[in-house]
């Protein structure tokens, strides 16, 4: 496919999934951005298996990442749809992909902040419409005016990056010395540990510690896949529920408070 159209589609994905799609679908398209990008970017660039592997690898680092109070330390739409595309355009390995996506995601936080900081303009205009009892005006501000800033901060940079950067990026990655590539790959392999540790911080309670040991043993020794472990986990979680004292475990100290 033509680079121009590929750049348009990837830029549109960054914009729509970060800001415009209905929220019930953004849970999936935004928080699973790298994984979904693996499929969509893979199809766009005609290398599905490669795309899926890059997407799955990048997604691992973000699996534990939580938006507390609505903001994330890394912009997932950019890291996902743009990160997977740039990795594929440069022909890098899936492990290197993470070292490409993470810096892009950090820059993407600027896109997010600009949107959050400038959107009050439309809220104030909505105030005026509300005071006049103009229902349509209020809805228009919410649905359409809200998209002006994200279009500028997400669509345009992502488009320029893919359309003009794709070619140079491949040459840049090829010229990198092997030591640098090794470092980038090691960062990529270590990064998932941070996401999982963040997740542990939210989930860990005294009464649920046994389950992490069971899950680990099933995966590390028995090599079961996650689906099988989730099914066994559902069974154990039900047992946990039925045999729990009323009002939950009193001894269950929250890791955050401990």
């Amino acid at each position: 496919m033509n680079t121009f159209f590929i750049a348009i589609i990837i830029a549109a994905l960054c914009w729509l999934t970060s800001s415009a799609l209905p929220m019930w679908s953004r849970w999936a398209f935004y928080f699973g951005a790298p994984l979904v990008a693996g499929l969509i970017d893979g199809l766009l660039l005609g290398q599905l298996t490669y795309g899926l592997q890059v997407g799955a690898t990048i997604q691992m680092a973000y699996i534990g990442l939580l938006a507390v109070g609505g903001t994330l330390p890394n912009e997932m739409a950019i890291a996902g749809y743009l990160g997977v595309a740039m990795t594929m355009l440069s022909g890098s390995s899936a492990a290197t992909g993470l070292a490409i996506a993470t810096p892009l995601g950090l820059l993407g936080v600027l896109c997010q902040n600009a949107k959050m900081a400038l959107n009050p303009i439309w809220v104030h205009r909505a105030d005026t419409y509300a005071a006049a009892g103009d229902v349509r005006g209020v809805r228009r501000m919410n649905l359409f005016a809200s998209q002006i800033v994200p279009f500028i901060t997400y669509f345009i940079p992502a488009f320029l990056c893919v359309y003009f950067g794709g070619h140079y990026f491949a040459a840049f990655m090829a010229a990198l010395p092997v030591q640098i590539t090794n470092i980038l790959m090691l960062i990529g392999k270590m990064m998932p540990a941070l996401g999982l540790a963040m997740l542990m911080q939210v989930l860990a309670k005294k009464s649920t510690i046994p389950f992490i040991l069971i899950g680990f043993a099933l995966a590390a020794y028995l090599k079961l896949d996650v689906m099988a472990i989730a099914i066994i986990g559902t069974g154990l979680a039900l047992l946990h529920y039925y045999y729990m004292p009323q009002g939950g475990h009193r001894d269950g100290t929250d890791a955050k408070k401990a």
Binding site: I63, G70, N119, P120, P192, A197, A237
Partner: protein, 273 residues
């Protein structure tokens, strides 16, 4: 003359629920977060209650356009409660607008707490774990299944929450938040989350060591020794180390920096790969 009490139509309720779950966060901003999205959803309720009263409509829209921030899926419950309160207020003007706003402010935090834990740290992680596993093996079904199941979760749970909020009202929700049942459910879901977390440690953290020692004539590969103690020992240690630092109060951004520095040192010295 006795007036028939105003009642929200089924269509209005459906539109309100769908507008909240679709557009509640579309104009997200630092000043009022989801305030405009909430007003958008309530605009259908107010339009239905005050079809020919511009003043009441304006008053209602302004009331609903205040600061508001919660989790979208479980937050549907609050949208349902507010819809029922607006309906009551239209029939009985002694119910104050302040009361509605106070209720929103009181419920949004606790509901977000439950919603963020269940939606983001449990449902998301489990579905992603399955999707990643399938995608790594080259199956396009991984991302497709993830999207379909996560959207279905958001819509079904959100729908149930909205209508239970509307029909049962605030008392039952406050009871639910205080009562033990939700704690037990969250705890059990946490158990499932921990199982999947345990499974993700060896499958997603893939660091190893290329170090080799020569003892006399025999060359020893350090990685195979580590494997014979506990498979994936290095990933486990890395995970536990980072968890320890997080609990000590280190910020994730700093730890990300630490990982980068450590990777540079350990890669150049050939200790890890």
């Amino acid at each position: 003359m006795e007036q028939t009490p105003k009642k929200l139509s089924k269509k209005t309720l459906r539109k309100t629920w769908f507008a909240w779950q679709s557009w509640g966060q579309i104009c997200y901003n630092y000043e009022r977060m989801m305030g405009l999205g909430f007003a958008h959803a309530m605009s259908y309720v107010l339009e239905d209650l005050y079809p020919d009263d511009k003043d009441k409509l304006a008053e209602g829209l302004t009331r609903e356009l205040t600061y508001y921030n919660t989790e979208n899926t479980f937050g549907s419950m609050i949208a349902g409660i507010v819809a029922s309160l607006e309906e009551k207020k239209a029939n009985d003007d002694s119910l104050s607008g302040d009361m509605i706003n106070n209720l929103k402010a009181a419920l949004m935090g606790p509901v977000a707490g439950i919603g963020d834990t269940i939606t983001q740290s449990l449902v998301k992680v489990i579905l992603l774990g399955i999707g990643i596993d399938m995608a790594k093996n080259g199956s396009a079904l991984g991302p497709i299944l993830f999207v379909v199941l996560f959207c279905a979760y958001a819509l079904i749970v959100g729908h149930i929450c909205f209508y239970s909020g509307y029909h049962l009202g605030q008392a039952s929700v406050t009871g639910l938040l205080k009562g033990g049942k939700i704690a037990r459910v969250t705890d059990s879901l946490g158990a499932l989350g921990m199982m999947v977390l345990g499974a993700l440690i060896p499958t997603t953290i893939t660091v190893g060591t290329p170090l080799k020692f020569a003892v006399g004539q025999v060359k020893i590969n350090l990685q195979s020794i580590l494997n014979s103690i506990v498979p994936d020992l290095l990933p486990v240690l890395l995970f536990l180390g980072l968890f320890y630092l997080l609990r000590k109060g280190q910020k994730p951004v700093r730890l990300m920096g630490l990982i980068i520095v450590a990777a540079i040192v350990l890669s150049l010295t050939g200790i890890l790969k």
